[in-house]
Every structure is written in structure tokens, then in C-alpha cells.
Symmetry: C2
Subunit: 84 residues, 2 copies
């Protein structure tokens, strides 16, 4: 499923849902980095700020963890601690 900029659902929510689904289905392995922001921007044709926002959602949910200068890593399901 591709991102639909014309849809009723905000692009950043669509991207967050997309990545969350890929993680839940194991298409992105645990303890491995997701595609870089630059890649996500190019693949989906959206702005960096929008990607940032989607990733912020997944970080808040505990799905992702940042390793500076390296990437955003998938947190194993048993180790997720939603921020709040």
C-alpha cells in the first residue's frame, strides 16, 4: 500500500501505520534499523518533517529507539515501553 496524500488520513499517520504493520508482520526484523529518513523521504515522495512526525509516533509507542548517527532500531515486542 502506498501513501495517499489526497486521502482523509494524514500522511504522517499513514506512514506510521505502514511501518508499524511491517514491524508487526516481521518484515522489518527486531533489533535492526528501519530505512533511513532520507530513504523514506525518497521512497514515498514526502517531506522530511512528515517522516519525522511519523517516527515520533512510533518512538512514543515504544516501537522504535534512536541510535544517534546510526539509525532508528526496532524495539523487540517484549521490551516496548510507551512514553508518557
Amino acid at each position: 500500500m502506498a501513501i495517499d496524500p489526497e486521502g482523509d488520513i494524514p500522511v504522517y499517520v499513514q506512514l506510521a501505520d505502514l511501518l508499524r504493520g511491517q514491524i508487526d508482520r516481521g518484515e522489518i526484523p527486531e533489533r535492526r534499523p528501519i530505512p533511513s529518513k532520507r530513504q523514506l523521504v525518497q521512497e514515498h515522495g514526502i517531506a522530511q518533517g512528515t517522516v519525522e512526525r511519523a517516527l515520533a509516533v512510533l518512538k512514543a509507542e515504544g516501537y522504535l529507539k534512536t541510535v544517534m548517527g546510526r539509525g532508528m532500531y526496532v524495539v523487540p515486542a517484549g521490551e516496548r515501553r510507551p512514553a508518557g
Copy 2:
């Protein structure tokens, strides 16, 4: 205390801390709107996106609640439900 763009703390965090402090001290009454985004942009000389980000933090913490077209309202302490 004013926002310091040169400091080590990100501007959006400084603004979130500033507003949270004003709310905690009762300087912004509960069930009342905080200054509008436009006002915050002008008063602190920062960008709308940065203000957005600070407000997103306080919304996630349950301090603020949006009422479309009217403003961002302070949630009474006893009613705060952090998102997560």
C-alpha cells in the same frame, strides 16, 4: 525566563518547560486557553513548527487539549491522561 536559541536545550523543549511551569504555578488557569500559536511565535521569536512541537509534547503529557478553531486549553490536573 526567555527562550535561549543558543542553549544546549532544544528550543521546543525550553518552550514546553516554560509553559508547563506556568501551568503548574497557576499562571495559566485551568480550563482556559494558552496563548495562541501565532502569539507564541511572535513573543519568543521562534518558528511555528517549533511551537507546534512544544505543544505536541504538552498534549502528549495530557496538559493541553485542542479545541479546533478556538485554542489549546489547559486540562485540570485531576483530568490529565497522558497519551501512549
